[in-house]
Structures are given as structure tokens and as C-alpha cells.
Amino acid sequence: MKRRDFLKKSGLAVAGSAALPTILPSGRLFAASGRRSADHVVMVAFAGGVRLQESYLRRYVDDSQGEPYPGNIMYNMLSGEAPIAKIVYGTGVGGINPIPAVLPQSIESIGTTFAEVSALSAGHFGGMNSLVQGAVPGGQGLKQRPLQPTIFEYLRRHGGYQATDTWFVGDGIGGSLPLLNHSEHPNYGAEYAGNFFAPLVTFAGAGDAAFADAQVYHPENELEPLRRMKTFLDQQFGADGSGGFGGGLNNTDEEKEHIKAFMKLMYQKVENGTVNVPPVSDNRDTGTVGFACEVLSEFKPAFTMVNLGGVDACHSNFSSYLSALHRADHAIGHLWNHIQSIPGMAGNTTLILTPECGRNLQPNNIIDENDWRAYDHSDENSMRIFTMMAGPTVPQGLTIGGEDNPVGMVTDTMMTVCDLLGVMPEVQNAGYVHPGTDSLFNRI
């Protein structure tokens, strides 16, 4: 070959490779342009309305009930001594036995804490949507899917993740929770949704009667003919098999069968009492985290969102709120420990957690069994939250901001996930997130 011909052909090849997009296995045309710095991220919507006073500020009943007993009741997440008196948050009658720590070091000491972060909503609905969409749900009604794309859709569309790479494990089906795994946005939607389970319903509630006895069909002898006949029927109907109420999430056939096999396994584990729940598991949050651990072990997702909501008892019972806060911390400790036991995720997973909203500065008039007042969430104090993260690329033992010196917003949590998993440029360019939202790494 003459040198001129070689240069001409190789130049065309180079030009062609530059102009033609890469077709990824997921069907995407372009690889994500961001710098991916984590293989796995677990994001926790922490607990359902947490006052900064009893959580990050570690004031126990000193800043809520006029009792001079500060202290830390979240010692898996936060460093510091527990209260010395008025213990009601543990186990046993009256909750007098605190649950021992399950982590040798607090998340605070091995990660970075944003001591005070600004929420964008004083309520659960707005807060959860802020965490999922990175935006406020303007114009979005209750029992309606998000109007702007969700973190699941961003990751799947721009990061090329499969459906079983992204999971949302919810603590129930109340409110709009089951609708948060994808939006109605025309450029995103169900095609890019995350998988969702409310495991306490699916595996330990109504789902048991509806699903537990289902046979997992043999792939060649049973599934193949079933699918062949269904495909024939759908072709005659002139449809692709979708439509009707609800719909699929673009799980592949293999992913669907994987999920069904996982469901079968969960029913067996529930029956045998072998779900990987925390050492103390006596409320919804600890149960939910137990199933979240099972999802992590089975699917090793790139992104998992876990929603906890037990502390919402604070509307009517402050003692129950303290108890739920203590258990949410216990569950997070167990979750972190479990992640470190999963091959492929151990040492390779970033945990990030943020309450979706805070709680009021002043109590309401409801008194509990300890004569303590309850708190709702509607005022400025409800906009004060915190964020913690830990993982291989997260600075250790670092605290950013402080009381009355907020740094960052609730929507930053979602953008930080996008940053870690390499899709932040695409999400920023899409232009649907709340103005000023940024990766928390850029605020350090």
C-alpha cells in the first residue's frame, strides 16, 4: 500500500470513528461523559423528618423538652457520647436498654458530614421528590408521577445502566412512594425506570397471598413456549405486549426471571426467618433495611435508594420518634456492615444519606407517655437537615459547615450520586434540576 493511500484510509477510519457514536449494550449511543468514581452508590432517604437538634446536634431532650440531658443516640452514624439519663429509645420496657453500636467507627469519622444543609420543602412529598428529582415538584400533584426525570432515569439513560442496576427500596406504599421510580417526562419515563419493591408489603404483607406460591417456570420447557404463544397473540392484536394499566420497566426477560427468582427466595427467607435484618429488628425501618441488604447481595446494583420513615411518629409521640431515630441509625450501621461483606461492593461502595426534611422548632400540643411534646414539620427549622457520606473517594473525618452555617441543598444529594456514577454533565445539561444544585464534592 502506498503511503498516501494508507494515510487516506487510516484518516477516514479515524474520522469515521470520531463521527460514529458507540452503541452500548444498553442501546445508548454515547457513553456518559462524566468521570465515574464509584461502582456502587447507596442513597438513604433518612427516616422521615428528622430535627437537626436530636440528630446532628446531639441534644437529645435538651433542646426539645426542657430536660438538661443532651447526648448522641445515633452512635453508628455520629461520634459522641450517649445521654446519661432519661433513656427511652432502646429495647425492653420503657426502652431503657440502648441498642449497642454495630460499627467500630462512626460514619462521621470515616466520611464527610455536611452539618447543616438546606431542605427545599418542609414536607415529605416535596422532600422525597427533591431527593429523587433534584428539583422541587412544582405543579406535581399527590399520587402523580414526578414531572421531571428522576435519578433512576438519568442513570439509565445517560449511564447505560440496566433496570436491575438501579433499585428503589421503599418502606411502604403510602403517599406517592411507589410512583417515584420514574417520571412522566417525555424524554425519559418508564423505559429508564428503576426497579421498586416495598418489601414489607411484597414479601411480608399482601404480596404473600398474591405472589408467594408462584412457580418459577423452566426457561426452555415452560417459559419459552409461554412467551412464544404470548408473542403470537400480541402480534395478532397489533401490540408490543405493553399497554393497559401500569407496564414494564424495560427489564429484559433475563432480568424479569432474576427478579422472580429473588422474590421466591425472599418468601422462603421470610418463612424461615433468615432475612438479613439488623440485630434488633422491631420496626418498619429495620425490616426495610433487611430486605435492602438482600437486594444488594442479589443484584449488586450500581445505585440503590432506600427510604426510611419510622421517625414520622414524631407527629404524635416524641418518645417513639427517639426510638425510631435510634433504630434508623442501627439499621444504617447494619447496612454499612453488610455492604462491606458483599464481594464486589465491599470497599467499592459510597453511602450517602439525607433526611428529606427536618421538623419544627416549637412542639405541638400532643403529650406522650413521658410527658414530652411532639413535633410536626412546617416551619424554618424543618428546612434544616444534614447529609453524610462515606466511601472510597470520600474524605474521612471531614465536617463542612455548621449550625446556622448551612452548606449545600437537599438536591445536592442526587447530583452527588450522578457525579459518583459519571452522569453529572448530562444531568446538568438536561436543565431540569433545581438552580444551584451541585455535587457535594464541589462544595468541599
Binding site: 398474591a210 403470537f232 394499566f245
Partner: protein, 166 residues
């Protein structure tokens, strides 16, 4: 005053007359089922069933009985707890198939008269007769695929897109 004074008799008579005038003979209403006209095509099925309709109809088609409201509520809750509704539908159908009360023809009956089985299955699930092409394809597939069972045939119909519509 005497409780039965003469002044009260005209009032009582007037009241009876008024009551009598207000009553009318109850019409002779009869309830029943009108014959359903089976269609031969899918053209008219352009409306999607609601989740309630799909679950209730599925139960009726598989068990021949109506689903109780409490059971329906529980199944809907179970559906809400799973993101992928395709998986929820497939798992519910597979779960129903394990119920000993499901009304399934035997394998022998299916193979002995596949034409009749195919026609009955179309009528049962899709409320229409199969076209000749559908009848032929389905009959041949059933006869030539040893692992096909009535359960799998019923499942494929229950999970078909057409079954999601009416």
C-alpha cells in the same frame, strides 16, 4: 279531651286517602343476562382495563367465581409494592395457577381435541372466536410442542396484550 273524639275521624280518613293516592303498583322488573355477541376480530378492543377489572376478570376466568373485595384490595396492594407491573402480572397468574381450585382442562383433553380447546380458550379469555389463521397456528403449536400444557396456554392468554383491553 277524649282521645277518640269525632274530630279526629275525618282527619284519619283523609290521611288514608292521601297515602293510598301516593302509592303505586310496583312495576314488574325482571333481571337477566343478554346474550353476548362474540366478535371475530380484535378491532373493537381499544380501551385498557383498569387494574381492578383485569384482576377480577382474571379470577373469574380461572376460577369461575367472583373475587371478594378484600382479596381484590390485597392484590392491588401487592401490585403497588412492585415497580414492574409486567412482573406483578406474571407472578400473580403463576400464583393463581398453583391454586387447586383453578379450572384447567387436562392435558389429554387439550391434545385430544385441540381445535375445540383453542376455540374455547379464545372465547374464555378474549371473548371472541379465533380467526382461521389463529386457530391453525395455535393448534399446530400445541400439537407440535410437547412441553405445552393447558396452564401455559392459559397463562399466555392471560398475559397477552389483548387481555389487557376490552
Amino acid at each position: 279531651m277524649n282521645r277518640f273524639s269525632p274530630f279526629s275521624w275525618p282527619c284519619a280518613v283523609a290521611l288514608l286517602v292521601l297515602i293510598g293516592a301516593g302509592c303505586s303498583v310496583e312495576p314488574d322488573v325482571q333481571y337477566g343476562l343478554e346474550p353476548l355477541q362474540l366478535q371475530s376480530s380484535t378491532a373493537d378492543k381499544d380501551r385498557a382495563k383498569t387494574i381492578d377489572q383485569w384482576i377480577s376478570i382474571l379470577h373469574a376466568d380461572l376460577f369461575g367465581t367472583a373475587l371478594g373485595s378484600a382479596e381484590l384490595f390485597d392484590i392491588k396492594q401487592a401490585f403497588e409494592s412492585i415497580g414492574d407491573q409486567d412482573i406483578a402480572r406474571e407472578t400473580l397468574v403463576a400464583n393463581f395457577m398453583q391454586n387447586p381450585e383453578v379450572q384447567l382442562p387436562s392435558q389429554e383433553a387439550m391434545l385430544a381435541d385441540s381445535d375445540q380447546f383453542v376455540e374455547a380458550t379464545y372465547v374464555r379469555f378474549l371473548v371472541r372466536y379465533p380467526t382461521q389463521a389463529e386457530r391453525t397456528w395455535m393448534r399446530n403449536y400445541i400439537q407440535n410442542t410437547p412441553t405445552v400444557t393447558p396452564e401455559l396456554v392459559y397463562s399466555s392468554f392471560a398475559l397477552s396484550a389483548e387481555y389487557l383491553h376490552y
